[in-house]
């Protein structure tokens, strides 16, 4: 056996045959065709039709929203305008491969230039072009493999478009050679509770069909496993499945200290699943979904309807709503269409809302109305509202004042910028609560763009500098007697969750599928343990050794107790 190291997501373990995601094809050369134009036209047409049928078939299997996307892709493949462009190139003596490549590219550029939603369709078009060219060359299409049996998917990293097409029932585990714990792959793995090891560079050498064990808890992919190792992995997977069906209790440490476990939600539709998985409320409700596909802000009435749905789904429970967080990774043209050199450092979050205060006021109006309406109907929740990307004490005062104007009872801020963490004692004097967004806090602390693959290694919330900032906020929370929540990806990492509690977090919010593992791990440690484990992590020099130090501290504490 050989062990390939990466970063594990969650605590799962899985085994199975590898299926690799094929790399993108090199662009065809512009060489004169040796076939007649008629032959090339037939080849192009057959390949296009075959790809369109394949996309339609996969759409029919997938159903739902994915079917719409795949059927639209099939229509793009057979688009009559595109066919004309392909034929025109073949008539000039080009090969079908080059004609397809070039004709798609001309459309792609036109779409990409239009930006926004249309720009995103350029990626769909690329995918179709790659499939047609692969078919013409008789090679496997790039993208998600479909070996016809369950598999361990090995890829460089997964793009959102890949994961939309991924048949999750067939995926036993995910292994990527690039990407860190906040990559799209990692987020997907947490959301869907898929066993994953990301950033395992050596996995690039894995071959299709070979059996591997993917151990997310250890962050290791084992090649050439022995029968004994396979059996042990299977036993662990079975035990974990049993644990997942254990009765759902409220989040708490071993000593009974309550640590409410909340859900991160992106729209009201996810509420039922979150409740089923034991969410005690919502720690982060992202409101961007209301705005992202719109060229203008939704009306107060439209917003109110969504908020009412959300609040009634969590009647009697805590629901933390974050007002619109636009900018950087989720630009909204009506808020800020200026080109910025460094959008992560630009007019985003609360800064953008402040510049378009009417949008903030409308959102607060809708939230207050939804709160009043659901309370009147007896389905009210405990509504908390927070602002994203708050970087100064003055911004804290601004937001809490404006929220109170609308009768919002509990107004807080997200701590995502080191300045807010460092002055948390002053921020929490004003705000009713703080919620730490660990993804952005890591990005800003390490000065590494979280969307940039080349610096992905910096994006690790285990970094002691990030932990120390979390500790500042925790201490300020204790001083003022105010709650400090965590709503970044970090809360979904069970051991890190223990560390965060040790640093003073009073609630944890995560993708609902991560709740079971975090709940189980919290129950293994009391508060003093958690503080000791946190101290061990804080004393480390870097993220990897902090993780290791926490792991061995946790293991030692367990041993001395048993």
């Amino acid at each position: 056996m050989t062990e390939l190291r990466g970063v594990g997501i969650g605590l799962g373990v899985a085994q199975g045959p590898v299926a690799r995601m094929a790399e993108p094809l090199p662009a065809p050369g512009d060489e004169p065709s040796t076939r007649s134009a008629d032959e090339e036209r037939t080849r192009a047409r057959d390949a296009v039709a075959a790809v369109a049928r394949e996309l339609e078939e996969r759409g029919a299997q997938a159903g739902g929203a994915a079917q719409e996307v795949l059927e639209a892709q099939a229509m793009m493949a057979e688009d009559p305008t595109l066919e004309g462009e392909i034929d025109a190139r073949i008539d000039q003596g080009k090969t079908a491969e080059w004609a397809v490549h070039d004709a798609f590219a001309s459309f792609r550029e036109a779409l990409a230039a239009m930006g926004g939603y249309l720009g995103e369709r350029a990626a769909d078009l690329d995918d179709v072009a790659q499939r047609v060219i692969a078919r013409l060359r008789g090679v496997p299409a790039p993208g998600v493999p479909d070996p016809g049996h369950p598999f361990v998917l090995v890829a460089k990293d997964l793009a959102p478009a890949d994961t939309a097409l991924l048949d999750l029932d067939q995926v036993l585990a995910l292994v990527t050679t690039e990407g860190g714990p906040t990559s799209h792959t990692a987020i997907l793995a947490r959301e869907k509770a898929i066993v994953a090891v990301v950033g395992a560079a050596a996995a690039a050498d894995l071959a299709d069909g070979e059996t591997v064990i993917v151990d997310a808890a250890a962050g290791v992919v084992t090649t050439d496993p022995s029968a004994d190792e396979l059996e042990r992995a299977q036993r662990r997977a079975d035990a974990r499945r049993d644990a997942a069906s254990a009765p759902i209790t409220d989040g708490a440490l071993k000593d009974g200290t309550a640590i409410p476990l909340l859900a991160n939600l992106g729209n009201p539709e996810g509420a039922a699943e979150a409740v089923a998985l034991g969410a005690e409320g919502v720690g982060l409700f992202r409101t961007e979904f209301l705005f992202l596909s719109a060229s203008q802000a939704p009306t107060v009435a439209q917003q109110r309807e969504s908020y009412e749905k959300l609040l009634s789904a969590f009647a009697g429970k805590k629901v933390v709503v974050r007002v619109l967080d636009a900018g950087a990774d989720k630009p909204l043209p009506f808020l800020n269409d200026a080109h910025e050199e460094n959008p992560a450092l630009g007019l985003r979050g609360l800064r953008a809302l402040r510049a378009s205060e009417d949008i903030l006021r409308e959102q607060l109006t809708a939230l207050a109305e939804a709160d009043a309406a659901t309370r009147a109907a007896g389905t009210g929740a405990d509504l908390w509202v927070m602002a994203p990307m708050v970087s100064t004490v003055e911004e804290t005062a601004y937001f809490t004042a404006i929220a109170r104007e609308y009768g919002i009872r509990t107004a807080g801020v997200m701590v995502e910028v080191p300045s807010s963490a460092l002055l948390a004692d002053r921020v929490l004097r004003i705000a009713d609560f703080a919620s730490i967004g660990t993804n952005d806090l890591t990005q800003y602390t390490l000065a590494a763009d979280r969307l940039l693959g080349s610096v992905a290694a910096f994006q690790d919330p285990w970094h002691p500098a990030v932990l120390r900032l979390v500790g500042e906020v925790g201490a300020a929370g204790r001083t003022h007697g105010k709650p400090v929540g965590i709503c970044g990806e970090a809360a979904a990492d069970p051991l890190l969750a223990v560390v965060l509690v040790g640093l003073g977090a009073t609630s944890l919010s995560m993708a609902p599928t991560a709740l079971a593992d975090v709940r189980a791990t919290l129950l293994e440690h009391d508060l003093v343990d958690a503080q000791r484990i946190a101290e061990a992590a804080l004393a480390a020099d870097d993220a990897a050794s902090a993780r290791e130090a926490a792991r061995s501290a946790a293991a030692n504490l367990k041993e001395t107790q048993s």
């Binding site: 305008t81 779409l111 939603y117």
Partner: protein, 90 residues
């Protein structure tokens, strides 16, 4: 035979993107006769071309002009106009 034209107001709140564009292009293709669509006074494009339709960048509230020629042109325009004035995202 002369071509029939019709000018309609886009009802879909997301304009003629994504699903509405697909439904429209599919319906135009199924009509079996040549249909074009133009935004305002722009150049008409083949209405059965999803890429052409998407690339028009038609938004909610825009006016487009449909032109059809051949058997059942009247009915085709009725059907397509209805598609365009309906809000599929509602």
């Amino acid at each position: 035979m002369t071509a029939l034209t019709r000018t309609v107001h886009i009802g879909s709140s997301h304009g003629l993107h994504a699903r509405p564009a697909k439904l429209f292009a599919q319906a135009a293709k199924d009509a079996g006769i040549p249909v074009t669509i133009a935004k305002d006074s722009g150049t008409p494009v083949n209405a059965a071309s999803i890429l052409g339709v998407i690339a028009l960048g038609v938004e909610h509230g825009d006016y487009v002009t449909l032109t059809a020629e051949g058997d059942g042109a009247e009915e085709t325009l009725d059907r397509l106009a209805e598609l365009l004035t309906t809000d599929h995202d509602a």
